[in-house]
Amino acid sequence: MNKPKEPVFPLRPPSPKRGKLRIPSKLRSIQLIITLTFTAVTVAVAVIVSIMLYGKFAKTAEENANLNMQQIIEQVNYNLELYVKGMGSIFATAEKQITSSPSIDSPLLNERMDTLMSSREDLVSVAVFTPQGQYVVGTPGQNLRLNTGLESQSWFTTAKRTSEISYSAPHIQNLFRGRYTWVVSISKLIQYQENGELRTGVLLLDFNFRTIDQLSKQVKLGKRGYAYILDPLGNIVYHPQQQLIYAGLKYENVEPVLEYAYRSYLDESTGEKRFITVRTLAQTGWKIVGVAYYDEIVTTKRDLNQFLAWFLGVVLVCVIAVSVFLSWLIASPIRKLERTVKQVAEGDLNTPINVSGAYEVEQLSKRFNMMLQRIRQLMDQIIYEQETKRKGELEVLQSQINPHFLYNTLNSVIRLAERGKTGEVVTMIQSLSRFFRISLSKGKNIITIQEELDHIRHYLVIQSFRFKNKFRYEITAQEEVLQCQTIKLILQPIVENALYHGIEMLPDEGLISITAELQDGLVIIRVSDNGLGMSKETMNVILSGGVKSTSGSGVGVRNVHERIGLYYGREYGLSFQSEIEEGTVVTLIFPARPAGEGMEEQKEEMNP
C-alpha cells in the first residue's frame, strides 16, 4: 500500500509542481468521486433554478407592489380632490351669500354664516377683512385677538395679490380668542356691500385637518409605509408623524419630491430603500406622496428568500445523504471484492466470494468465484492424480509378485511332478519364470507390446494347466504393433477377469482370443472371451471401481483403466462390449509410441 504509485502517464516528463498537486489516491476513490460530482451537479442545478425562480418572482412581486401602491395613492389623491372641491364650493357659497347680501351686517347674512359654520365640523372660522386688515364681519361669537399680525400672514397677502382663490400652507390660526388651531386657510378678494357701498375685502375660510387626516390615515402601505401631503412650497400639510417632524425629531426628504408632479421612483437617500410615489392635486398644487419600504412591500420576496434558503439547505442535505448512500452502494461491493481478492492473492484460496450489489459487480464476483473454483478443482485433481498414480504403482509393484498366484501355480507344479509329467512341469516352470521376469522387467514400467503379449501368453500357459485345458487361447498381433510401447501388466488383469468370471463357470470349453493392431496411430488390443458375459449394470460400474474382484491377482481392471488414463490421457482406456451367455470383448486403446522413447524419464520416475 505504501509503495509509490506509478504516474498515470509515465511517458510524460513529471513536473515537480504537478507532483505536489497530485490528488492522493484515497481521494480518488469511487465513493468520493461519485459523492462530490453528484452533490456538485445537483447543488449547481438547484442554485441556478432557485436564482432564476427568485429573480422572476421577485420582479413580479415588486411590480405588483409598486402598482398596488400607485393605485392607493391615486385613490387618496382622488378623495382629496373631492374634498378640496368641496371646500371650494363652500367658499363659493359663502362668497355668493356675502356678495349678494344687500348689507354686510344684515342679520340674515349672519344667520346664514352661522348655519354654514355649524354644518361643517372641519370649518374653523369664516371672516371678511378689509384690504387694510380691519375686521369686517365673521361668524358670531368670535372675538378678535390683539396683535394678530394678519397683514403679513400668507393667506392675506396672497389674496390681495391675486384675484384667484388661494390655499395657504398649514399655520396657526391666531385671530380669534379660544384655541390656537392648526388650519389651512382659503382666501380670496371679494366684493361686498356695506351701507349701500360696494367694497372689496378678503374672505377667509379656515379648515382644520380633521378630514384630511381621516382621508390620509387610512392609507396603509405595508407595516411602516405611509403617505404624506406637501404644499407646492414644500410645507408639510399632512404627515403621520407631523409633530415629530415639526419638533425636528424626524426628517422627510422632500426636495426630490417637489421637482415632480407625477412620479414613482426608488429612493435611497435615507440609507433604506423606499418606494416613493408622487401625485399632485390639481386645484391646490398639493402633492400626495406615498412612501413604502422596499423590504416591506416586497415581503413576498423575503418570504421567497427564506423559502429558497431553506429549500436549498434541505436539498443540499438530501443530496449529500443520497449521494453518500448511493456511492457507498456502488463502491462498497467493489471494495469488498478488492479486499477478498487481496486475501486470495495472499494465498487463501478457500476464501468464499459472495459479494452482492450491482449486477456487474455480482457477475464479476461470480466469475471470479468460478475461476477460483476451477483452480481449486484443478489443484484437487492434481493431488488426486498424484495419489492414484502412486497407489496404482504400488499395486503394480504388489502384483509383480503375487504370492497367491505363485502358491497356486506351485501347487499345480507339485501335482504335475507327483504324476511325473516332467515335460509339463518344465513348461510350467519355464512359463512361470518368464512370467515373473517380464513382470519385474528390471523395475521398468514401460515395456514393448511384444513383451506384454509374451507375458500374457505365459500367464495363459500357466492358467491352462491349472484349469486343465478348460479353455483355448489365441494371440494374434500385427507385426508393426509389436515394437510399440505399453505400460506393463495391462492385459493380465483383464484376462484374469475373463478366466475367473467368464470361463470358470462355463460348462463348455472357453476361448480367449487376444488381438493387437495398429490403427491410425493408436494401439488397439482386444481381449475377447466366449464366457458368461456381464450385465449392463456390471459394465457400468466396473470402471468406477464398484466391483472389486475378490480373487485373482488383485490388480483390478479399473487399475488398468486408470493407469492408461494417467499415462496417456483421459481419453484413452478400456471399453467393454458384453452379451450375457455370449461373451465379453474388452478393448484397450492408447496411442502408439515406438520403443525406446521416453524410457529414460520413466526410469527416473520409477525410482524416487
Partner: protein, 340 residues
C-alpha cells in the same frame, strides 16, 4: 480517515449554508418592534400643558417602537413622597425602563439607586436626579434658560430696576411651602434656572432681585404669591417666572391688576401663555421642547433595552419667544403641538 471525511462534509455543508443564507438575508436597520416593552414614565405632575405635551411625545414614541407606556404622576409637583412611592411601585412591577422627571434632586436619588440595583435602567427627563446610576438625561439646560430669561428682562428694563422671581419647588430648607418633611432639596431644573437667572442679573449693578418666591403647583397659589410680591415691592419693574404654573398665575394677576408697565418673562408655552403673549401682558417666554423630551426619552429607553449606546446627555434646547417671532413658521411648530 472516515471520520475526517465526515467532518469535511459537514464543514463543506456549513460553509455552503452560510454563503447561501448570507446572500439572501440582511438584517433591517431599524429598531425591532416585534416585542412589547414596558416603560414607566413618572413625571412631576399629572396636570398642566407642559406635561401633557411631554406625554404626547412619549406616546408618539411608544406607538412607533411598540412600547407599553405607563404614565404616572402625583397631583402636585411638590409631592416628592408620592413620586418616590410611584417609582418603587414601578420597580416592583418590573418595568423594563423607568423614565423619571424628578421632583427633587436628592429626594429621588435613593430610589433611583434602588432601581439600578434591580437592573432597571433609569433615564431622567426634564429634571436630573442625584444618582450616578442614571443612564441618560433628556431635557433642556436650565441654567441657560434662566440666563435667557434674565437677558431679555434686563434688556426690557433697560438695565435697571427691581425684579421679582417666581420659582417652584424650593431648594432651601427654611423657605416656602415646597419643602416637605425631612427632604429639603428642590427640583434640579428649578434650581438651575434660578441660578442662571441670578448669575446673569448679578452682572448689572442696577438690577436688584428683591424677592424670590416659591410656589408649589397651583395657579391660585402662584397668584397670591404674585400679589404679595407686588404689595411688598411697589417699585417692582419686572417679574420673571420660572415654570408654567408660576407664569400662568403671575400673568393673570398682572392682567387683572392692570399693571401694564410691568415687564414679565414667562416660562413654557401653554396656550394661555400664548394668549397673554399676544395681548401684551407677557413680553416673552422661554420655551422648552417637551414633545421632544418625551419622545427622545422613550426612544433612548428602547435603544438602551436593545443594548445600543445612548448619549449620556441630550440637550433639547430652549428658545425665547416673543410676539414678533411667535408666528414664524418654525416657532409655530414648536409652540403649538400638532394635536389631532
Amino acid at each position: 480517515m472516515r471520520s475526517l471525511r465526515v467532518w469535511l462534509t459537514i464543514l463543506l455543508c456549513g460553509v455552503l449554508w452560510i454563503s447561501v443564507s448570507s446572500c439572501f438575508n440582511a438584517s433591517p436597520a431599524y429598531i425591532s418592534t416585534s416585542k412589547t416593552r414596558n416603560i414607566h414614565l413618572v413625571v412631576k405632575m399629572n396636570k398642566g400643558d407642559y406635561w401633557n405635551t411631554l406625554k404626547l411625545g412619549a406616546e408618539a414614541a411608544a406607538k412607533e417602537f411598540n412600547v407599553n407606556l405607563t404614565f404616572k404622576a402625583p397631583d402636585s409637583e411638590s409631592d416628592i413622597e408620592e413620586q418616590i412611592v410611584m417609582v418603587e411601585e414601578s420597580i416592583k412591577e418590573k418595568a423594563d425602563v423607568i423614565i423619571l422627571a424628578a421632583s427633587s434632586y436628592m429626594g429621588l436619588a435613593q430610589v433611583v439607586d434602588q432601581a439600578a440595583y434591580s437592573r432597571i435602567p433609569v433615564i431622567s427627563v426634564d429634571a436630573e436626579v442625584g444618582s450616578a446610576r442614571v443612564r441618560s438625561y433628556v431635557g433642556s439646560n436650565g441654567y441657560e434658560a434662566g440666563q435667557k430669561s434674565a437677558e431679555r428682562l434686563i434688556e426690557l428694563l433697560k438695565g435697571y430696576g427691581e425684579i421679582g422671581i417666581l420659582n417652584f419647588t424650593n431648594s432651601s430648607p427654611d423657605q416656602g411651602p415646597g419643602s416637605t418633611g425631612s427632604i429639603d432639596y428642590g427640583a434640579r431644573d428649578a434650581d438651575e434656572r434660578e441660578k442662571g437667572f441670578l448669575n446673569y442679573a448679578a452682572r448689572y449693578p442696577n438690577v436688584k432681585v428683591v424677592q424670590i418666591s416659591y410656589t408649589s403647583s397651583s395657579t391660585s397659589e402662584a397668584e397670591s404669591l404674585t400679589r404679595e410680591m407686588l404689595e411688598e415691592h411697589p417699585g417692582l419693574r419686572g417679574i420673571a417666572t420660572l415654570n408654567e404654573i408660576a407664569s400662568q398665575g403671575a400673568a393673570k394677576v398682572i392682567q387683572s391688576a392692570g399693571k401694564g408697565y410691568l415687564k414679565m418673562i414667562a416660562f413654557d408655552s401653554s396656550p394661555s401663555m400664548m394668549e397673554s403673549l399676544q395681548d401684551g401682558t407677557v413680553q416673552a417666554t422661554v420655551i422648552q421642547n417637551p414633545f421632544s423630551n418625551g419622545y427622545l426619552a422613550v426612544k433612548y429607553a428602547v435603544e438602551a433595552l436593545e443594548g445600543m449606546d445612548i448619549p449620556e446627555r441630550v440637550d433639547t434646547g430652549t428658545k425665547l419667544i416673543d410676539l414678533e417671532n411667535m408666528l414664524w413658521p418654525e416657532n409655530q411648530k414648536l409652540l403649538f403641538p400638532f394635536v389631532r
